[in-house]
Every structure is written in structure tokens, then in C-alpha cells.
């Protein structure tokens, strides 16, 4: 495994630990982490937020989601992670 891949897996594990310690907002079932590169080629991670079935994503709920996911992203950045945490909201499978 290349050093950058090792680093990525370490960052992923750290992110997952921080997420596990963070209470989720209402309407979100869980958060998974995926590694990749963004469109500029920078190493990045994607936080995939799973919506609970039946949640109505109103403007107000989405504003709260943006606030919640933004704070979680900053928490990861503040923990020293180097990959930018992009967020995606997905319907539960």
C-alpha cells in the first residue's frame, strides 16, 4: 500500500471515530466515510449522511442539516485531518 493510501485509511479511521462520538441530528440514520480525490485532484473524503426513511427535507430541515454537517466537517478539520470533508445527503437504502 502506498504511503498516501495508508494516510488515507488512517484519516478515514479517525473520521469514523469522531463521527461515532458525535450525536446525530434528527432524520439522519448514520454517516459513512469514503475516500477519493476531488475535481482538482486533491485527496478528499466524502461524508455520506443517510436520511431516515420518511423524513421530509424541508428548507428548514436542510438549513439545519447544513449547519450540522458543516460543524461536523469543521470538527474533522480541527482534529488535524488533511482531506477536505465533502458532505452528501443520501436516502436510506
Amino acid at each position: 500500500m502506498m504511503a498516501t493510501e495508508d494516510q488515507g485509511q488512517l484519516e478515514k479511521a479517525k473520521a469514523e471515530q469522531i463521527i461515532a462520538e458525535t450525536p446525530l441530528m434528527d432524520g439522519i440514520n448514520g454517516v459513512t466515510v469514503e475516500l477519493g480525490e476531488d475535481h482538482t485532484g486533491d485527496p478528499a473524503m466524502w461524508l455520506i449522511f443517510q436520511m431516515q426513511p420518511g423524513v421530509n427535507p424541508t428548507d428548514v430541515w436542510l438549513q439545519r442539516f447544513n449547519e450540522f454537517s458543516g460543524k461536523l466537517g469543521l470538527k474533522l478539520i480541527d482534529s488535524g485531518l488533511t482531506r477536505f470533508p465533502y458532505t452528501r445527503l443520501r436516502n436510506a437504502a
Binding site: N66, F84, Y86, T87, R88, L89
Partner: protein, 175 residues
């Protein structure tokens, strides 16, 4: 109405547009992609218009618009990343102190997020949007624009604006 606000209105209108006929899903997908792109450009132009009005308040509209074209997307993303750091590095550390304000961090974080989404919307034909993505990203742009409005006359906004245009020069100050 400013271009940035018009773009937000445009994005919102695209999301409530009714589609009918056999190409309904295709047309809805096009509107969602355009809405995401418009949300990014709303924030992009909101920051740049504010920036140029502060650094060149006396120039004509034509010159103002010309200066706005100096801002580069990739460079803006890089600079936003610098302002997100928990502890700012030099030269920002000397200029601003240890960290940017929560409002500026929100602007920087949202800008990076929206730029990536805009790239997917405009270029990645295989990208599957969640139905909530366009509205969520429009809300994200609105939130970031409001955060910018709160700090746009501040010293840190001045430094941010100068960084957008001059980071490469300032980098020479780094050890």
C-alpha cells in the same frame, strides 16, 4: 438585484419548474444540474462583487467587471482551504491571529463544497444526484452569502479578499 441574488432566484425557479412528457426525467435532471451550478456561481459572484467594490470603489462598472474576472476558481478554492485551518499558518497567522471567524470559515467551507458540487453538476454525467441535493446546495449558498454579509467590512474579510488575488505573492513570506 445583484447578479448573485438573481442567480439564487434562478436556481430556486429551476427547482420548482414543472416538467411533462416523455423527457420529463431528463429535463428535471438538467434543471437540477443547472440549479447546483447557479448556487455555486451565486456565492462566487457574491464574494467577488463585494471584493471589487472594496478594493476598487471608484472604478467604472466596466472596469469593476473586468477586475472581477481576475478571480480564479481553483485559486479561490486553495485560499479557502488556507482559511479553514484550525491554526492558521504564516502569513495569515501574523495578519489575523490563530483562526478565522466562524462566519469566514463557513464561507470558505461552503465555497469548497459548492465548487465540487458544481463540477459534478456541469461535467460528471454519471453522477447520480439525490433529490435533496439541489435544494440543500442552494440553502448552503444562501447560508454562506449571509455569513459573508456579516463580515464583509471586517479586517479579516479584507485579508481574505487580498489573499484571493495575491496569495502567490504572500507565499513568499512563508519560511
Amino acid at each position: 438585484m445583484s447578479l448573485s441574488k438573481a442567480l439564487i432566484v434562478h436556481a430556486s425557479q429551476l427547482l420548482v419548474q414543472e416538467h411533462a412528457g416523455p423527457r420529463r426525467d431528463e429535463m428535471r435532471n438538467v434543471c437540477e444540474r443547472r440549479a447546483i451550478s447557479a448556487a455555486y456561481y451565486a456565492l462566487f459572484h457574491h464574494i467577488n462583487a463585494s471584493a471589487v467594490s472594496q478594493i476598487a470603489p471608484q472604478v467604472s462598472d466596466q472596469t469593476n467587471h473586468r477586475i472581477q474576472r481576475w478571480f480564479e476558481h481553483a485559486e479561490m478554492k486553495r485560499v479557502c482551504g488556507r482559511f479553514l485551518a484550525t491554526r492558521l499558518e504564516k502569513p495569515l497567522l501574523d495578519l489575523l491571529g490563530p483562526a478565522a471567524s466562524p462566519e469566514l470559515r463557513n464561507v470558505a467551507q461552503s465555497f469548497i463544497q459548492l465548487q465540487e458540487a458544481r463540477h459534478s453538476a456541469d461535467y460528471d454525467l454519471s453522477y447520480n444526484f439525490n433529490p435533496t441535493d439541489p435544494l440543500q446546495l442552494v440553502q448552503l449558498a444562501l447560508g454562506a452569502m449571509a455569513s459573508w454579509d456579516q463580515i464583509e467590512k471586517s479586517a479579516e474579510a479584507n485579508i481574505f479578499i487580498l489573499s484571493l488575488l495575491m496569495w502567490k505573492n504572500w507565499e513568499k513570506e512563508r519560511p
